[in-house]
Subunit: 199 residues, 4 copies
C-alpha cells in the first residue's frame, strides 16, 4: 500500500536544485567599472570561473539525481528523507563556494569546500543505494556499477579532505578531478559494458 | 463536476517550500575571515545550527504535506485556500528564525518564533482535516490517528508559546520537541498499528 | 496539430508566482531590536500587514489562474504569450508594493500601485477570454459570468486609478475592495446559479 | 532502453527560467522618493525599460524552449547536458544586463551583453538540432525551417558582437532586432507554409 509516487520528490528536488544553481550567479558582483579590465581582473575571473565550475557541478548532481530516480516507480517515506538529506549539503554549496573563493589559500574554507562536495557525492551514493530497492532486476547491475564508482569518488573526496588540511590548494583540484573522473568512468562503462545504455 | 486535480496544488506548494528552504541558507553570512575560528565562533555556530534545524523542520513539513495529499485525488477550491493559508506562516519562517537567532534570550522574538511554528503545525492539521473529505475509506483511520498527534502538537505549541512569555529559552526547546515528538509518535504508530503502512 | 499541452504553462506560472509570493516576504526587514516595540512600531506593522495583504492578493491571482486553466486541455502559442504578459505586471508587484509602503500618502507610488493591480486583473480577464476558446461548451457559461465580474473589477480599478491622482489613500482601499468584491461576487454566483460548481 | 522522459528536463528548465525572469525584477531599485520625478528619471526609465525588454527576451526563450521540446517524447543523457549548457548563458543574463545598464555607452559591457544573448540563441539552436533526433518525421521539416532562422540569428549576433567592439550602441539595437526578427520570421513561416501549425 505504498501510495507515494516519485513525481513530487522529483519536482521538489528540481525546485531546490534550480534555486541553488541560480542563486550562485547572484553572488557574482556586477563590476563597478565599464572597462575590460573590470572583468579581466584576477578577482573577477576567479569568481566567474568558480561560478562556471559550480554550475557544472550542480548540473552534474542534477543529471545524476535524474539518472538514479529514472527507473524508480514508487518511493518510500525513507527515500524522501534520504533525498532531503542529500539536498541539505547541496544547499550549503553556494555559501561554502563563496567563502572558498574569498580565501583560496586558507585551510579552513578549503577543507569545508571539499568536505561539502564529498558530502554531496556521498548523498548521491546513499540515494542510489536506497533507489535500488525500488527498481526492477534489469537495472540493478548498471546501478551497482555506477554506485561503485561513486563510492570510490567519496573515498577520494575523504582522502582529499585530509590532504587539504596540509595543502589547501588540493581542494580545488580534487573537486575538479571528482567531476571529470566520475563522468569519464561512467562514459567508459557505458561504452564498454552496456553499449549505449544510459546512466 | 470537480475539475481541479491536485497536481498544481502540489507543484505550487513544492515551489514555495523549495524557495523557503533555500533562502534560509542565504541568511548565513559568508565568514569574513578564512580561519577556523570564523566558523567556530559561537555566533556562526548558532546561525548554522539553526539553519540545519530549520531545514529539518521545513523538510518535515514538506514530508507531512506530501503524506497528507498523497491519497487525495481531486481538490476543492476551499482546499486550495486552506493550503495557501498554511504556506503563509511557512513563508514567514526564515524571517522569524533570523530574528530569533539575533536575540535568543529576548521574549518577543522567542514568542513569535514558537508561535509561527505552532501556526504551521496548525495549518497542517487543518489541511489534513480538509484532505480527509477527498480520501477513500481505507485511509481515513490512519489520517485520523496522525491528525490526533498533530492536534496535541498544536496544543503543546500553544502552551509553550504562553510559557515563552516567561522563559524565552522554552521556544527553542519546544520547537525541537515538536519535531522529535511528532516523528517518534508517527513512527511508533506505523510500527504498532499499520505494520509498515506509510504516513 | 496543436502539440502543446497546458502542463508546462501551468508549471512555469506556478514557478514564477511561487517566487513572487516568497520574495515579498524577503522585503520585511528583520527587526534590529529584540523587544515587542520593534514589531509593534507603526512602520513594521504597515510593512507586515501589507505583506499579508499582498500574499492574499497573489494567492488569489494564483487560484484564479488555476480556475481559468483547469477546464483547458491544449493551449495555443498565443495563449502562452497572453499568460506571459499576465506574469509581467505580477512580477512588478513586490517592487511597487514596497515603494507604496514607503510613501503611503504620496500620489505617484499610490497611482502605480493601484495601476499595476488593475493590470494584473486585466491580465486574468484577457487570459480567461483566451482560455474560453480551448474549453468545452459546458464551461463557457460559467467562465463568461466570472469574466463579466472580472471586467467590472478592471473598470473599478481604472476609475480608482484616476481617483488616486487626487486622493492617494484611494489606492489601498480600492485594492482591498477588488479582493473582497471579486471573491464575494464569485461566491454568490456559485451559490445562486451553479449550486456548488467551482470557479 | 531509454528510460528518461522529458518531463523532468522541462520542469528543471521551467524552474531555472522562472527564477531568472523573476530575479531580474529584484534589480530594479525601489525609488527613494515618492514623486513622479523618481520614476521619470532617465536612470529609472532605462532600468525599467531594460527589465521589460529582458522579460520579453527570457519569455521568448522559454516559448522557444517549449516549442522545441513539445514534439519530443524521450530524451537522451546528451540532450540533458545540451539543455544545461543552454541554461548556463541564460543564468548570466541578469548580471550582464545590469552591467550593461550601468554603462550603456562602454564597449566591454555592451560586447558581453550581445555576446551572451547570442550564446543563448546558439544554445536554442543546438538544443533544437539535438531534439530533432527524438522527433517524428512529421515535425522534422518545420523544425529545420525554424532552426535555419535561428542559425541566421546567431550569425547576425556574431557580426553584431564584432561591430559592438567599435560602436557600443549596436548591442542594444541588435538584441531588439534579434527578438523582433526571429518572431516575425516564424510568424510569416507559419502563415505561408504551415497554415496555422505552431512553432
Amino acid at each position: 500500500m505504498e501510495i507515494i509516487n516519485k513525481s513530487r520528490l522529483e519536482a521538489f528536488s528540481d525546485g531546490v536544485i534550480a534555486i541553488i544553481i541560480t542563486i550562485m550567479v547572484l553572488q557574482i558582483n556586477v563590476p563597478t567599472r565599464g572597462s575590460w579590465s573590470a572583468i579581466l581582473a584576477p578577482n573577477f575571473l576567479i569568481t566567474f570561473g568558480s561560478y562556471i565550475l559550480s554550475f557544472m557541478f550542480v548540473a552534474s548532481f542534477w543529471v545524476s539525481h535524474h539518472m538514479i530516480l529514472a527507473p524508480v516507480k514508487t518511493v518510500s517515506k525513507k527515500l524522501l528523507w534520504v533525498n532531503l538529506l542529500l539536498l541539505l549539503p547541496m544547499s550549503v554549496l553556494p555559501t561554502v563556494t563563496t567563502w572558498h573563493n574569498d580565501f583560496v589559500n586558507s585551510v579552513a574554507p578549503s577543507v569545508c569546500y571539499i568536505a561539502i562536495y564529498t558530502f554531496c557525492v556521498l548523498g548521491l551514493f546513499v540515494l542510489s543505494k536506497g533507489a535500488m530497492k525500488h527498481v526492477g532486476e534489469s537495472h540493478i547491475k548498471m546501478m551497482e556499477s555506477v554506485a561503485k564508482i561513486r563510492f570510490w569518488m567519496v573515498m577520494f573526496g575523504l582522502v582529499s579532505t585530509i590532504g587539504t588540511f596540509f595543502i589547501p590548494q588540493i581542494a580545488s583540484i580534487s573537486v575538479m578531478l571528482i567531476l571529470v573522473g566520475y563522468h569519464t568512468s561512467v562514459f567508459i562503462l557505458n561504452k564498454k559494458k552496456w553499449h549505449g545504455l544510459i546512466l
